[in-house]
Assembly symmetry: C2
Homo-oligomer: 338 residues x 2
């Protein structure tokens, strides 16, 4: 299995390096870090043990990369417009895409870029930051939960024969990825219900990415304040209700578990907060806009209106607007050159 | 009529100086500005014309002030615990208190401090800041709408004979204050429905004080952003619904008028934003906590619960929690020495 890593940051850099360390063939797309990594390799400081990948296969341009069995998409979703150009070069004819991005329905850009190829999506439950060029610091947790992506509204029963074959192929590749990852020391788990995993992850991302920016606070500050913690709880409840509204059932115990995990987590600056503090574009649309639209579509499909039913995620909608304001004001670089 | 001004800042300093300029007897309580004002007087830079009160009557301690017919309370409501000590000194036997503080039910601390004396409340619709010691800058608008305060649940029909006499006396003093203010160039208006005026003012304070802190933005930045403006609109709607829930009917045209006034307002840092930027305590409880409690009482009185009815102010409740977090974190001085 040959892997391409698109976006060699906190997530792609970590998992790609773990696969490379285990002897798998991994090709990394880099941009600003290329010269540094060419000299020094990729350095991973991890709770699971520190290591360096001394001479990784690195590229500045996706068109120079070889066709791979698996392209792991770990760019920020604000750069997804780049995938239409990149993915056709790096995904082999029988290959697949594994998107490890935050948010809901982020896989659609990959599916559009390489029609006829399988698309998988994964949620990463970890605390990891890129702290310097080619330098990843993995602080806590590390699980990937991944599965086959199907577009909203698609179910395997309603697929054409060709689509079914693609889904089967994605499933088979997924099992091989799972074996490779597990063998590389990655805490990877398969799911037959990617939508549930996505919503489950949003139960953390929406409150804690959102409030960490809106309140300018790390997770430990939020959990130490009765008011902010209560607000986080409200948001988690709402995301749970939003999932149900979209037909995704999540065990109610996940509500309390999300708070518990965050209580015991290392003090952590979410990716969104780091983006905000550095004036970079935030993943507001993938993490907030997309689930809010999914809820609106589900409500509209059932004929629910403002008049005849209450919105399941009013606080999420409010936080979304606050983040849109803050995102539009920051001096972000929304169009990087790679 | 002899006036005492407790809190000689953006509001008390402005209106007290306008009364003094017109020849009324006015006594100002000052703290940190006392030496400066003793030398230079009070300076008012106003859209209505600049002037100086060269030698005002000034005091460091309320117990040195003479008994007055009217004590104008223009302290920040976060200092209301000081009123129990101050007001008995400055309100004459037949005098009254006029509270010009922001928020809902802020008059209760004054009513507790001088039982048997009349209490009036007023809402100020103006853009004014204290920009230096004894130096007020009045930027825009200037209206005071004031009337007799009655505790929540009290109506004149249910009052005892003594209370009715106090209310009548407050009304009569109010008419004299109105005449004095109008004659001093102050845009003062009488209202027989103070509660409606308070809620009407909250329709501005809640969205624009709150968002100016939560989004770290002046009013013009909020109005220039589609997301932030939409959020302000949601909050205004909710305050209008909250008032209705408390039995206070406000013309729906006020919703649009509030947005219009803010559109055409000078770019303005609200008092709450200035407090936040300077690390001072914010009036979170008076402006957010108190109306939210009023709504809860009204809902409880009607037997409404989370299950059988939706909260009329969910976004207000969320903003309240955000502000509580931000207020608790700032290095505020919650107990000034005067």
């Amino acid at each position: 299995m040959r892997y391409a890593i698109l976006g060699s940051g906190a997530v792609g850099g970590l998992y790609g390096s773990m696969l490379a360390r285990a002897g798998h063939e991994v090709h990394f797309l880099l941009h600003s870090d290329l010269e540094h990594v060419a000299k020094h390799g990729i350095r991973v400081d991890s709770v699971l043990g520190d290591f360096v990948v001394p001479s990784p296969n690195i590229y500045r341009d996706a068109s120079d990369m070889p066709p791979c069995d698996v392209a792991i998409v770990a760019l920020k979703s604000t750069n997804n417009q780049l995938l239409a150009r990149m993915l056709p070069h790096v995904v082999s004819d029988r290959g697949a895409v594994l998107s490890l991005q935050n948010g809901l329905d982020v896989e659609s850009a990959s599916a559009d870029a390489v029609p006829g190829r399988g698309v998988l999506g994964g949620c990463c439950f970890l605390c990891s930051n890129k702290v310097g060029p080619g330098h990843i610091r993995h602080l806590d947790y590390g699980r990937i939960v991944f599965g086959v992506y199907q577009r909203s509204g698609e179910s395997s029963g309603g697929q054409s024969g060709e689509d079914s074959a693609v889904t089967r192929s994605a499933y088979e590749l997924g099992q091989r990825i799972l074996a490779d990852m597990t063998g590389s020391g990655i805490d990877a788990q398969w799911t037959d219900d990617l939508a549930a995993a996505r919503w489950r992850k949003l139960m953390w991302n929406i409150p804690f990415n959102g409030l960490s920016v809106a309140l300018d606070a790390a997770t430990d500050e939020i959990m130490a304040s009765a008011a902010a913690k209560s607000l986080a709880g409200t948001l988690i409840d709402e995301v749970h209700r939003g999932a149900a509204c979209c037909g995704v059932s999540i065990d109610a115990a996940a509500i309390e578990a999300t708070m518990q995990h965050t209580e015991t987590m290392v003090p952590y600056d979410s990716s969104m907060r780091l983006d905000f503090l550095h004036g970079r574009a935030m993943e507001v649309d993938a993490i907030f806009g997309s689930p809010l639209r999914a809820v609106e579509r589900a409500r509209a499909a059932r004929g629910e209106t403002v008049e005849n039913s209450s919105h399941p995620m009013p606080s999420v909608a409010m936080l979304h607007q606050q983040l849109q304001f803050l995102d539009s004001r920051s001096g972000k670089a929304s169009n990087p050159t790679h």
